[in-house]
């Protein structure tokens, strides 16, 4: 189910952006160069016909050769929806932060940053959110992070004062 009206509007708005258009099933998705993604977001929010004032979701995805951030936009008054995307190479996974456009992006970006190791430059409070502080330099949502193996419990794993019981 394509959405030609929204597609035309977005094509007009993002004409100077060197954008690529596609579909996520029935939602228009626009791939924007990552340096201009924050600008594109504030433009989408400020535009009267679109009025994307609500950020539904912000998701980081790791593909074999790049990172992608998807921004799901929504306008509360008009019911419009669209998806913006930006990609960054593996060796330089940096995106501009959109917290200045929607405050609701705050925790989504912190979560994406700690789980995938991408950076959102300009984020006001880039701390750990879900993981504990010692999780530095390790990114559990990356594809190369292993699932924990099931390990048989041995006596050496017990605390020193518990070792040697129930043998």
């Amino acid at each position: 189910m394509p959405d030609p009206e929204m597609e035309a509007l977005l094509k007009e708005l993002y004409a100077p952006f060197d954008a690529e258009f596609g579909y996520a099933v029935d939602e228009v998705s626009v791939l924007i160069p990552r340096e201009r993604i924050a600008e594109a977001c504030s433009l989408a929010k400020a535009d009267e016909r679109l009025g994307f004032d609500y950020l539904r979701c912000l998701a980081v995805v790791e593909y074999p050769d790049h990172f992608q951030v998807s921004y799901m936009l929504y306008s509360t008054g008009k019911g419009h929806k669209a998806m913006l995307k930006a990609v960054a190479p593996k060796d330089d996974p940096a995106f501009p932060s959109v917290t200045c456009v929607w405050k609701g992006a705050d925790w989504h970006e912190r979560e994406g940053a700690e789980l995938f190791g991408v950076t959102f430059s300009g984020h006001p409070d880039p701390k750990h959110l879900l993981l504990f502080d010692e999780f530095e330099g390790v990114y559990p949502m990356r594809k190369d992070y292993p699932f924990e193996e099931v390990v048989e419990w041995t006596d050496e794993m017990s605390a020193p004062w518990e070792q040697g019981y129930e043998k």
């Binding site: 996520a24 609500y54 979701c57 789980l115 959110l129 879900l130 993981l131 699932f147």
Partner: protein
């Protein structure tokens, strides 16, 4: 003569949680207080982080339903629904009408049982110890027994499948649900009379923890927390999924965006859910309950991505699903309502008193399982 005006005050850090009986789970707030007044509040989450999104990349589509049960463990059916609908949308599956109606009825019942838990917990937060909890849990128990009859489990139902539901409902499902609805109506009225317009309740909750329309949208709030601020956004009405476009129901909205409004919206929502269930029960016909794909479990969505959101009791429950054409997802991002609603807690607590902090948190109705995933 006033004393102490020339003395500077020092802000104090106050830790609430993570082991705090009234924080609704393992949740920590670091409050900066000036006397009794809260200057700043920082939410510390993650104590319940289980890496559900990562686990989803390892399991196949049928197994993932069980993981989604554990994301929002108060409204299991609603969180299952978002995931199965995301996979169905990506595959372009049409679901038999009977399955859709069963889903609607169970999700609405789950909404009532979730709001009943909120009612009990919020009563305790406000300071009525015991009675609201007992009233709320009495109604929940009836609903829970119906869920057990349908799915075999009181919680963690694993009942929805990509393409339908796991098995047909018991033969007496429709008459039994009709009886339940009558009981619930009485129960909701009783709960309403006990608390909603109680003088102490009004005094404590009106004008406390206020959040304006603009802020609510900016923070991406959803569900009763958004509607309490006066924005008529309900995904069941604005972006109808399943068969919600056939039902006649209203969207209750608050006036001021304070704690009482959020409470009242939930009370009214329960009545609207009853109304939806009654209409759905009249529509239920015999027929298939799943498409063949659900029966044999060959779920392999095509390459692509999709974002689906549904209205869970706490708000907008979204699933972003990326598939690479294999039998397990490439990436699943779960946008949970409490996670986003909790972002606005800092704003709500600003200028409030310590005594109200727990109540304001309670009015957002968080489930830490879905905040941390």
């Amino acid at each position: 003569m006033t004393t102490g005006q020339h003395l500077g005050t020092v802000d104090m850090l106050l830790n609430m949680g993570p082991q705090h009986p009234s924080t609704h789970g393992v949740f920590r707030m670091i409050l900066t207080v000036d006397g009794e007044q809260i200057q700043d509040a920082e939410a510390v989450i993650g104590y319940l982080h289980r890496g559900t999104e990562k686990l989803c990349e390892r399991e196949n589509y049928r197994q993932i339903v069980t993981l989604f049960d554990r994301i929002d463990y108060i409204a299991n059916f609603n969180s299952e629904l978002s995931f199965v609908m995301a996979a169905e949308k990506l595959m372009g599956l049409e679901i038999p009408e009977r399955a859709q109606l069963i889903r609607v009825i169970l999700c609405e019942l789950n909404r009532i049982s979730s709001h009943m838990l909120f009612y009990g917990a919020f009563g305790t937060d406000v300071g009525v110890f015991g009675t609201p909890f007992m009233y709320g849990f009495r109604e929940r128990e009836n609903i829970q027994q119906l869920f057990e009859a349908v799915s075999g489990a009181r919680m963690m139902h694993s009942y929805f499948r990509v393409g339908g539901v796991a098995q047909d409902v018991p033969e007496d499902f429709v008459p039994r649900t009709r009886d339940l609805v009558e009981t619930l109506k009485r129960g909701i009225d009783q709960c309403d009379k006990l608390l909603t317009y109680n003088e102490i309740m009004l005094e404590r909750t009106r004008g406390v923890g206020t959040i304006t329309k603009e802020e609510a949208i900016d923070y991406g709030l959803s569900g009763p927390t958004l509607r309490g601020s006066g924005i008529p956004e309900d995904i069941r009405a604005t972006e109808p999924y399943l068969v919600y476009d056939r039902f006649d129901f209203e969207i209750p909205i608050g006036q001021n965006g304070d704690c009482w409004d959020r409470f009242w919206v939930r009370m009214e929502e329960m009545r609207q859910s009853i109304h939806i269930i009654e209409q759905a029960l009249n529509m239920v016909q015999d027929g298939p309950i799943q498409t063949p794909v659900a029966k044999f479990g060959f779920v392999k969505p095509p390459v692509g991505d999709v974002y689906v959101r549904t209205e869970s009791p706490r708000g907008d429950f979204g699933v972003y699903l990326v598939s690479d054409g294999k039998d397990r997802p490439y990436r699943v991002k779960v946008r949970t309502p409490s996670f986003c609603n909790l972002m606005a807690l800092r704003r709500m607590l600003e200028g409030a008193y310590i005594a109200d902090a727990v109540m304001i948190l309670g009015s957002v109705d968080i489930v830490l399982g879905e905040v941390d995933r």
